[in-house]
Amino acid sequence: MVHALREAHRVLKPNGILIDLRPALVHRRVGIERAGRYRQLGTLREPLDDDRAANRSLAHVLRAGLFKAGWRTQFDCRRVMDSLSDFQTFIDEFITLGTDLPPHDWLIRRVERALETADGKKKIVVKGPLLMNVLRKLDVADEWATRVSRGRL
């Protein structure tokens, strides 16, 4: 991860902007939406180790003076699915991407039951906030100035 950030720093123009966009460090919620009303059915138990490692990598390049922190924001992101097979695909994608996801058969069964019992048009909705970190590239000269101003030289 740090190598990728160093490469991003290399290919960015002076004063360029790095945007780190990824799911926030919370488990996603799964539910059914019908007639605009959301009913939560469970929470994904996805491991958050990769997200913690990403935070550490960002902190590392900030400390190394490659970037300076800009602003940080968080906003809602929904994934909307029409069928149980879409939801199964969504779960399978975690495994395809190498995430060590524990079995979620219980949640799939719960979604299946909710789809069977709810009347009318319904959707499966997975909710989870996205985190966006905006960083500004620091050049070597900037890094020098920053360290001098902080009394580190």
């Binding site: 991860m1 190598h3 990728a4 950030l5 490469e7 991003a8 290399r10 290919v11 960015l12 123009k13 002076p14 360029g16 902007i17 790095l18 945007i19 780190d20 966009l21 990824r22 799911p23 990403a54 990598s57 960002l58 924001t73 906003f75 809602d76 992101c77 929904r78 994934r79 909307v80 699915m81 029409d82 069928s83 879409d86 695909t89 969504f90 996205l130 966006m132 905006v134």
Partner: protein
């Protein structure tokens, strides 16, 4: 039916707050099937989009609308070893890939 990610476009609104993307040269690391890449191109950016998964890049190329063919270039590659020259881009986006 496909999975619809962020139909409310909250992601686009957040990205629009960062900068004016029109005409900007952007490198997107971890573009996957190009979902976010298309959003960046719609905002006016020229995007070099990279992902290590050749299958996802093939999907992204297949889904690329003609109107964005000159704005988007997809490449198979790793974020740790970019083939691009120094100081080539105004923005770098790590899309769910850090």
């Amino acid at each position: 039916m496909a999975i619809r990610v962020d139909p409310e476009q909250n992601e686009v609104r957040a990205l629009e707050r960062v900068t004016n993307w029109r005409g900007k040269r952007v490198i997107e690391l971890g573009c996957g099937d190009g979902r976010l890449t298309l959003r960046l191109a719609r905002m006016g950016a020229f995007v070099s989009a990279i992902d290590p998964d050749a299958k996802l890049i093939r999907t992204a190329r297949r889904r690329l609308p003609k109107r964005f063919a000159r704005r988007i270039r997809y490449h198979v590659g790793k974020a740790e070893h970019l083939d691009h020259a120094n100081e080539s881009f105004e923005l770098a986006v790590l899309a769910w890939s850090l």
